[in-house]
Symmetry: C2
Subunit: 330 residues, 2 copies
Amino acid sequence: MTGDQGHIGEFDRIARFFAPLAEGAPGAFGLTDDAAVLPPASDGLEWVVTVDALVAGVHFLPDDPADLVARKALRVNLSDLAAMGASPRGYTLALALPKTLPATADWLEAFSRGLGEDQAEFGVHLLGGDSVSTPGPVTLSITAFGLVEREKLLRRSGASVGDDLWVSGTIGDGALGLEVARGRLFGAYSDLADRYRLPRPRTTLGPRLAGLASAALDVSDGLLQDAGHIAARSGCRLVIEAPAVPLSESAAAAISDDPDLFARALQGGDDYELLFTAPVECRSAIDASGRDVGVSVTRIGRVESGTGIELLDRNGVPLEGLSEQGWRHF
Amino acid sequence: MTGDQGHIGEFDRIARFFAPLAEGAPGAFGLTDDAAVLPPASDGLEWVVTVDALVAGVHFLPDDPADLVARKALRVNLSDLAAMGASPRGYTLALALPKTLPATADWLEAFSRGLGEDQAEFGVHLLGGDSVSTPGPVTLSITAFGLVEREKLLRRSGASVGDDLWVSGTIGDGALGLEVARGRLFGAYSDLADRYRLPRPRTTLGPRLAGLASAALDVSDGLLQDAGHIAARSGCRLVIEAPAVPLSESAAAAISDDPDLFARALQGGDDYELLFTAPVECRSAIDASGRDVGVSVTRIGRVESGTGIELLDRNGVPLEGLSEQGWRHF
């Protein structure tokens, strides 16, 4: 480490912080070669690939702990794999760091520690990467790789009229958590802020839904907008029963205090739950899949003919203020 | 397009500029899903993966034409695949654009046009991507995918004592071209600047060398430093005959005018030629491979026992001023 405000050269960065994350992945060659080799996919399996970029000040707060930044970056990609029904196997990392980052070694230590923790939790390895300097903010992109059975790939386009609409976990924690993290929502809601900072990708549920669900995606733009994506790609109408949308205890308490927050919960992003459609005859199999992997699954509506989405109140009456682009206001 | 200095929303950016680049890749699903599917690798083939990040002001000049930026970003990745002996098949893109980028639509149009031109030239397709805003400079990372025969993968670690040392094309054009581009080297050397701005990855030669070469990499850090990488990974000494290093006409002319530029040619980066070792009995096969694909290949030295690298003058006398870390001075 030189006196250059803790700046560390590329080779040192790789050897100290990243090569240990490639241990256990033979095709990564300890990050010493020009490229990595993906393990051969077994018969009938296909590689699924996804990429997400995150920028400090845009996708996370510049002073967010580096280990949480790393884990969030990895998890949003694992969520995309889960949405396709794929089991995660590995990832590559491109990291642009400001030379002026204070205490670069500490930041990288925490960043790589966060990746290591999630590698253990999700069974993935770092396969390759590039680490560069930037005069701008911390910027990282992760490309993640997973395997799916060729015939069971989940897409956004398979919903059929008559299917149920389901969602995993709870909705709105990410959006309300961002309000808490920004100091705009007060109360004993630190669990919501944690949900915003550290999504829980449904990596075990997604592959279980492959072969059952007719269409799926992960809720990153907000429940209503993402439901609109399935509707648009599948050429149908998604009807959502508002009272059926599952809320966490904290989100329900916050909304009870301020009912306007319900709209925020439905239109906010960063849920990283799976939103999916499935034939009615799959209900018990889906319930069983959720139980097996310990993730709640809730039926929140149905697929009808038409276009766009519709949100119904407790009396089955359409709520106003909704457009295909998402929620406007109640 | 809004009045926000030409800022274009993510969905529009994808539909207008990037989805057309995914046509012809069935597994990209028109960039409408959460992830893409790699085509199944035929029996005996493996997927090779590499990633490179580029930042405006660090890896390219902020006012470099966007089409050249795009093509360079793609090509440096294709060069990494070639160094492993892999044939390129596709790539994903993460792009962070300043909202204040003047004429964003024009920039994106040129950027995607550049990618399209190189897709046609190299037979690859865009498989997926992410497009985000940044308060910093243009930042992009590309993850590229190629296929190689499982048993023929080229690595940095396979050189044996007695092997020849070879290099493709010409050395120093990238480094001298950067001097031209920066206005520090004057003369009729616009072809050198072109070489700096637009590398020529040896995508057809690399796969031909798979099964012949014992070790390989692409010259991105400079001939001497990259030779040191092969030496270090292979546990041997690389001896380079300075007069044998192939120079382009322009580089030779520039060096004839200013002999100090020879050191710059050997230590500068951005050549993106293949540096490789091979058993003596492969000489004619390697010459034939170069002829077949229209890329010159030149023997520039040999592998000896020991460590590090050695540069010999025309009389076979070691040149001073060299260290394992690269060239210092003559």
